[in-house]
């Protein structure tokens, strides 16, 4: 998706935060070197082509944007927030981006003004695939999430 919109001056980056589900193979960060090592493994395993930018060890940017494990935000030119999502869903992001670009292109000619709206969106939640991802982090990551307190 990042490549498709690059010619419209849209930049797409991955901001690397704390480990959401630390385990024996990928522990919580105690240094920036830990973070760099994990981010490189992520880049290679997931074949990430977008730039990966590392937040500081204290999570300053992550905390300022809400501190959720996999949020996506769309920021317009100059810094106005256009989209805020608790999770990352490709279809939802693409729809929001198209609406943003469409509005920006038409706003002067059609005298458009932005307004705030909110809605719920949907994402696929494949628990088996998620368990496999936790297994990659290590047995502790699996037991921390699927421990006795989980009902599903």
């Amino acid at each position: 998706m990042a490549r498709r919109y690059a010619n419209r001056a849209v930049r797409s980056v991955f901001v690397y935060t704390r480990e959401a589900h630390p385990g024996e193979s990928y522990r919580h960060h105690t240094s920036m070197d830990d973070k760099r090592h994990h981010a490189r493994a992520f880049k290679e395993h997931c074949r990430v082509e977008r730039p990966i930018l590392l937040d500081d060890l204290a999570g300053t940017a992550h905390r300022a944007y809400g501190m959720l494990p996999n949020m996506t935000w769309i920021i317009g030119r100059g810094g106005v927030i256009h989209y805020k999502a608790a999770w990352t869903d490709r279809a939802d992001i693409e729809a929001a981006l198209n609406a943003t670009l469409d509005g920006l292109e038409r706003r002067v000619a059609e005298q458009l003004a932005p307004f705030h709206s909110e809605r719920l969106a949907w994402r696929v939640r494949d628990m088996e695939a998620f368990r496999r991802e936790l297994e990659r982090a290590g047995p502790q990551a699996v037991s921390d999430f699927f421990g006795p307190h989980r009902e599903d």
Partner: protein
């Protein structure tokens, strides 16, 4: 928040889930101004100020980790 508290060693759903539920009330929202911080570029090793990302056009920011 202490660095060691932010980088928790153990995931606790009872601690983290309320934050997800409260995200809609988080004061940063569409129409507001995005804060900018200096981030380290994994590839180049240099520093990128977030506001550079949206200086010329929209920017998509995905936050996450390998785990």
């Amino acid at each position: 928040m202490k660095v060691e508290d932010y980088n928790y060693a153990v995931f606790d759903l009872r601690r983290e889930e309320p934050k997800i539920q409260a995200f809609c009330d988080f004061p940063l929202r569409p129409g507001g101004r995005a804060p900018s911080f200096a981030l380290e570029d994994l590839d180049g090793g240099g520093t990128v100020e977030m506001k550079e990302l949206w200086a010329d056009g929209p920017a998509i920011l995905e936050f996450g980790s390998f785990t």
